[in-house]
Subunit: 583 residues, 2 copies
């Protein structure tokens, strides 16, 4: 609750009563009252980072809002910082000028790579941005038992970090099968949250009926995986807070707004899940969510509630979410409630951004503890060879959207020693996953169709959820060169053509985030995308990097490749590349 | 949060999934979904007192609701158990059949009399009813420094009890002057709540503008003292939860419903403040509040939210307030959402009431520690004498409503030794307050006009907030007899006429609550009221007991009598009965 001493407390009352001057007065605002869902004119008095009140006050410093709308600062209910490819400090620099003052972040990507060192890094880095980053403790590391991640965070490993005041709760509980089956390990994990009175985020796409009852009865409170309004109503009915997602990858918001009513909107929250720099530069952050809402004729204040009050209530952040006495002075001044263009942003009473510009100096936390996470044993080109006998193979067929795949079949040409022979008339290439956390030396190879690549190779170290190395290419030389270069640069992305590196983006933070600026990352990614299409001839219909990042995601059907082999998601077992004949 | 062990947790999931049978299935309900504000048909499965889910389930026991409406059990957001004149167990017996399953109780009456012994008694007694009683720690004991109460609970005395898990927060902070002036003692009290992450209830009638900002900035979250809708909107605007009060004494609900909107209703709660047995028998409890709402054309589910979900959210009771998986099985079956007649009530999955009948056996907690609180030193008839010189006196003028008084003047006849001479043609009589907690021997005497009494005397030991003895009468003999008898019976109410006790109601629990049944208390009070009017000729326009209980309440203007003397509330100082001449 309150974190101040008696003197500050007394000071707050003295200022609120008008007996002492405030530090800051933001005058002439149209204030968004999120409780009554009304707008009223007023001046906001602030002392020691806290709102003393709206009324007639004197202050040491006065800022004239000139009739701008004053909203509580926006709160992103669910986001993975790592999916921006940026450090926390850098993401803060980009999204604070969009009016975002708090985010609820689940660092499962970096914890999958670096374990609790990753969590520590994120917590420390988060202190170095004005953005208030509330951190969840990842609940599913590793995501499945069908891959090697950089860490195993079981219930006993959770017991200390969950007590950390800086940890808000347990991150999205993706193992809904484990929950609904009440597996022992899952119960232990959930109990750590209960014993410490912490909230548990959820992740339960398409769960309904008694299975959904089960998931919710386990104490899981939120979900961001609704695709239909029917799902949304069902989840709200059971007491879940539904997070309407609008990110760089997934765009559910507009569709789900159909399910919103004046009755249930207060159990709905806005979230990104992921937000890439390019999207932030072109559209913004939560201010863009709000624009989308208002363009669908939603009352702007109902929309704002979903990015402020409702999120604060859900996550028990009693000190924010509205402009009211005693709450944190997290305030965004907006031109109007249609375009939501941001004028100025205050966090804890400090002016932190004006139009598009983050104002504070940034001193980033050292990345030493999360760098160089390339523990690859004995990788060589030979590990990319197949030993096929017939050439009748199971194949990964990319589906539109790039996340789901189909389990296809093909007959491919094989060399004398059983290796795959690339045929440029057919869109089938090798794909490999190289384990990079535990020096296992694991390399799994398979074939993929629909990627389009006709030259060279692409290697990346962002591959949900374990973030091993994924490489795809038309020949083993380029593929192995790409992997070698990737390891050398401590992870990220490498494009190779004809034995040359034609583009690369190092991602030194665990091999999944860059320590550079959002502008640089955005431009570099643009360039890499362009070159992937223009030089390597990757299929124009697909997003070359995003597709690869999902080819290891063993929870999404039908067939994926992990460092342990080719995995049939529906049957939940590994299969060989070569189709085995029935005897 | 969750209070169960791993085995129970696993069991819940097993039942919720349908793999194991529930304990109880309440089938064929029209379920009130308080999140979407919709009704849907379903069967409620319950195990170990928790809702496993709504769906198709099997159970050891099946109850057919036959299409009754299933609502979450009602939660009274603010009530003083003592104002019912009943023990907690007995109040539970009366209100549970009205559909109330939780109450938020502020025991400041009994703590004013018995100190922390009173709190302990209330906590223990509360365990012996199925009604779930959440207790607040009284914040203003004594209510003012202008009277002697039975205890002083300052910040240091609060430090231990506030940590008790059974204490939900700090009770209504009536000393809003102290808050807005940031007095040291008040800051210390409020800090005890913050340091223990506990909520603080408020009480700030007619506070507005910067003063209201100040009160709220101090972290006070609720208020039940709104008289106008303007006040209500202002308080909601500042983040307060507004409790719409409908009790035996105060009837604000219907008026305040005018200020309710679909936008702000989720920050509004229903409460009683007080509820006498007679009212409960004639009208019910929160089911009557709901009736009133619906009769004013409020959507019944919006009304129900104000007695369920909203209260649970406000008081951070995450385990109740809706019919949803994982929540307490506190369920009330209603005939319909117009008359709210109660069919059956379940608390933590146990059937505790059917139409009008509490089902469980009652074994009351011993009242020994809170009995016999009559520590009156050297009371005698002589202490009722005045020593007046002129007969020009300040007088307490009763105003309609019976709570406020006016500071009046009169010229009265005095005897040779300066005592007041009663004149049956004038409606002026003696009133006295006899200190009964600390053996001070204090007796303060004054004159009151408008009470109407023409015979005998009435003495009571319920006198807000310190609950000293108040006695009024036409002659000293009857007055002192009434006081003596009151002391003898360990408090309550005594009516005397012509040296005989014509009626009495002992209230052995601290002199403010009866240990008998609600029916007996109601009948006895009826009889006492009738006799007060018919035999003692108390003014028919006023409620004889209620008026007396407010004549000591030194926070309500204009002029009141405490054990320390006649008190001018507006000037906040004691005055003499005799009007002092200017020199």
């Amino acid at each position: 609750m309150r974190n101040f001493n008696k003197n500050k407390f007394k000071k707050l009352i003295e200022v609120s009563s008008g007996r002492e001057k405030a530090d800051l007065l933001i005058k002439n605002c149209k204030i968004v009252d999120v409780y009554n869902a009304e707008i009223y004119d007023g001046h906001i008095a602030i002392v020691d980072g806290i709102i003393a009140g709206v009324g007639e006050y004197e202050a040491d410093k006065v800022i004239d809002a000139c009739g701008a709308y004053a909203s509580p600062g926006f709160i992103d209910a669910h986001i993975h910082i790592e999916s921006s490819y940026l450090s926390p400090e850098e993401l803060g620099r980009l999204i604070v000028p969009c009016g975002t003052t708090t985010i609820i972040a689940d660092p499962h990507e970096i914890v999958n790579v670096c374990g609790l060192d990753g969590l520590d890094y994120m917590l420390e880095a988060s202190k170095r941005t004005a953005l208030d980053i509330k951190m969840m403790l990842p609940s599913c590391v590793p995501a499945t038992n069908y891959e090697h991640a950089g860490a195993i965070i079981d219930a006993s490993a959770m017991r200390r970090p969950i007590k950390n005041e800086a940890i808000l709760g347990l991150g999205e509980f993706m193992d809904f099968v484990g929950v609904t089956n009440a597996t022992d390990e899952v119960l232990d994990k959930l109990m750590t949250a209960y014993e410490n009175d912490k909230i548990i985020d959820g992740h339960c796409p398409a769960l309904s009926g008694n299975l959904l009852n089960t998931y919710v009865s386990a104490g899981i409170t939120t979900d961001h995986e609704c695709s239909t309004t029917k799902e949304m109503i069902e989840k709200i009915r059971r007491g879940m807070y539904v997070q309407l997602r609008e990110g760089s990858a997934c765009h559910d918001l507009e569709n789900l707004l159909e399910g919103l009513t004046t009755m249930n909107s207060r159990r709905c929250l806005l979230c990104s899940d992921d937000r890439q720099p390019k999207t932030i530069f072109e559209k913004g952050h939560l201010n863009d969510h709000l624009r989308i809402c208002v363009n669908k004729d939603l009352d702007p204040i109902i929309a704002i509630q979903m990015a402020t009050l409702n999120v604060a209530e859900c996550y028990r952040l009693y000190d924010r979410g509205a402009i009211a006495p005693g709450l944190r002075a997290d305030i965004v001044l907006l031109d109007n409630l249609a375009n939501f263009n941001v004028n100025r942003v205050f966090i804890a009473g400090q002016e932190v951004a004006t139009k598009d510009k983050y104002l504070l100096p940034i001193e980033k936390y050292s990345i030493n503890k999360v760098k160089g996470r390339m523990c690859v044993k004995d990788f060589s080109k030979d590990k990319l060879k197949f030993s096929l006998k017939t050439g009748d193979v199971n194949i990964i067929d990319i589906l539109p959207g790039g996340v789901l795949t189909a389990k296809g079949k093909a007959k491919v040409e094989i060399s004398e020693d059983g290796d795959f022979v690339y045929n440029s008339n057919e869109d089938i290439v090798k794909i490999a996953v190289v384990e990079r956390h535990r020096n296992t030396g694991n390399v799994a190879v398979a074939l993929i169709r629909g990627y389009g690549i006709k030259e060279g190779a692409i290697a990346i170290s962002i591959a949900h959820d374990s973030h091993n190395i994924i490489v795809v290419g038309v020949n083993d030389d380029d593929m192995s060169l790409a992997v070698d270069k990737l390891i050398e640069q401590a992870g990220g992305i490498v494009l190779v053509k004809d034995s040359d590196v034609i583009a690369s983006m190092p991602m030194e933070i665990g091999g999944i985030m860059s320590s550079k600026s959002g502008e640089w990352v955005s431009e570099t990614l643009n360039m890499i995308h362009d070159l992937a299409h223009s030089e390597l001839k990757v299929n124009e219909e697909i997003e070359p990097l995003m597709v690869l990042t999902f080819m290891s995601l063993a929870v999404i059907p039908e067939i994926k490749l992990t460092d342990m082999g080719l995995f049939d998601v529906n049957k939940m077992k590994f299969i060989s590349v070569e189709i085995e004949k029935d005897i």
